[in-house]
Symmetry: C2
Subunit: 245 residues, 2 copies
C-alpha cells in the first residue's frame, strides 16, 4: 500500500507573491525518500473557516497532512485555532510549551507569546534534543511553521516518527531530443512498464541538454529496464548523461 | 467588487520535489497589481480526472482560473484533455496553432508536436506580436505552460485582457520588534482600520530586522494612517525602515 500525504500551505503573503514558497519542494522530496507520495497541495488565505474546511477534506483522503504557516503569535496566525475547529475540540494551554516560552522570553513573555503554547485538545508532541520546540500533531495532521529554516529543523525531528511505504527509486536520462521526437516512444514505454512512471521535462535555459526523461517507481530492476530500453532506441549521440539509481 | 482568482498547478515533478515551483509568486504579484486577489492554489498530479474535478471546483468559485503545466507533447501532458473534460467539450485541432508548429518544425513535425495544436472546442486565443504562440482560454480559465520563462512571456501578452478591480496598495514597516511584543497592538490596529489587512512576518536570517509588518488595502490614505499609528506607538529606535506606497 502506498502511503499518501497532502500539504496545506497557509498564508496571504504567499498568494500575493510577497514571499516565495520554499517548503513544498523540500517536503515533497523528503516524503518521496520515505516512500510517502505527496499527492496534493492546497494553498489558502489566513482565514479560519477556509483552513478548517480544507484540512477536513485533506485529512479524510490522505494518510498524512502537513500544514505550513500561521503558527506565530500575531492576529494573522490562524492555524492552531483552525485545526481545533476542524477537529471540533478546544485549544488548551500546553504546560511544557509554556515553560519553554517563559524560559526563552523571561519577564518579557506576553500573552501573545503564550498563545503559541496553545494546541488542540488531544494533540501529541514530537521533539528531540536538537529541536526542543515540539511539533504539534493531532490525528494524521502535523503542524509546521512557514519559516523554511524552522520547517526543516522540525521535519528532521519528525522524520523518524513517519511510517513510510516501500521506497521509490528514480532514474533520469538527459537528452538532446525535442519532446515531440520522443513522445510516441515514451507513451509506448509507459504502457510496457506498468510499474514505472515516466516524466518528460524540456529545458529552455540549460544549453547542456534539451529534455530530461525520468523513470520513477518502486522496483529498481524495472526502472533500469525501462531506462535501458529508452536509451537503446535513441541515437547514442542524443544521450547527454544519466543520473540516479 | 473584488475580482478573485485561483491557480491550478499541475505536475508530478512539483509534488516529488524534483522541481521548485516558480510561477505562483510571480502570478500572485502580477494579479495583486491588477487588483485581482489570488485566493486559492491547488497543486495536483498529472491525472486527467483529478485535474478536471479541481478545475470545475475552482472555476465555479473564482473570476479567473490560471492553470500552469501539463501542456507539452508527451504522455504526461494532461491539461488540455482535462480542461476539455471539465467543460464537457471535445478537443479540436486549431489551424493557426498547427500552422505555427509546422512552420517551426518543418518536416520534422510529429503527431506528438501536433497534439499541441489541440484545444477544447469553444476556446479563444490570446497572442500578440511578441508572443505568437497563443494562450488558450475557455470560459474563465486561462491555460499556461509550467516553464517559468514561457509562463512570464505569455502572461505579459494576456495581462491587457484581464479585468482588474480597484488596485491594492501595500506598505511595509521593518522593525527590531519580536512578534510577541507587537501582537496585541497589531490586533487592535486591524480592528480599528477595517479596510487594512495587516501581516506580520518574522525573519530568522536577516540581521537587519526582526519582524516585517505589512499594511495592505485599496485606500492608500487609510493604509498610511494605519502605518503611522503603528509607528507612533513604537520606540523610534525599533523602526529600521519603511517601504511601499
Amino acid at each position: 500500500m502506498t502511503k499518501t500525504a497532502a500539504a496545506l500551505i497557509i498564508g496571504n503573503e504567499l498568494l500575493t507573491g510577497k514571499i516565495q514558497e520554499l517548503n513544498l519542494a523540500y517536503l515533497g522530496k523528503e516524503l518521496y525518500r520515505l516512500g510517502i507520495q505527496l499527492r496534493r497541495v492546497v494553498m489558502c488565505l489566513d482565514d479560519i473557516d477556509t483552513i478548517a474546511a480544507d484540512l477536513n477534506l485533506l485529512r479524510d483522503s490522505h494518510d498524512y497532512v502537513f500544514t505550513s504557516g500561521g503558527v506565530g503569535p500575531t492576529h494573522d496566525d490562524m492555524t492552531l485555532p483552525a485545526v481545533a475547529k476542524a477537529f471540533a475540540v478546544p485549544l488548551v494551554r500546553v504546560p511544557e510549551i509554556e515553560g519553554l516560552i517563559r524560559q526563552y522570553h523571561g519577564d518579557r513573555a506576553t500573552e501573545a507569546h503564550l498563545r503559541m503554547a496553545d494546541a488542540p485538545e488531544g494533540s501529541t508532541f514530537i521533539s528531540n534534543e536538537q529541536v526542543r520546540w515540539p511539533t504539534v500533531c493531532i490525528g494524521n495532521v502535523l503542524i509546521f511553521p512557514g519559516v523554511p529554516e524552522i520547517f526543516r529543523a522540525k521535519f528532521a525531528a519528525v522524520r523518524p516518527h513517519l511510517t513510510g511505504g516501500a521506497r521509490f527509486y528514480s532514474h533520469a536520462v538527459f537528452t538532446h531530443c525535442d519532446e515531440g521526437e520522443i513522445a510516441l516512444q515514451l507513451r509506448e514505454l509507459e504502457a510496457s512498464f506498468a510499474g514505472v512512471s515516466i516524466g518528460s521535462y524540456p529545458t529552455f535555459r540549460d544549453p547542456a541538454y534539451r529534455t530530461k526523461v525520468t523513470f520513477d517507481g518502486r522496483d529498481p530492476d524495472e526502472i533500469t529496464r525501462a531506462a535501458e530500453t529508452f536509451c537503446a532506441q535513441l541515437d547514442p549521440q542524443k544521450i547527454v548523461r544519466q543520473e540516479g539509481l
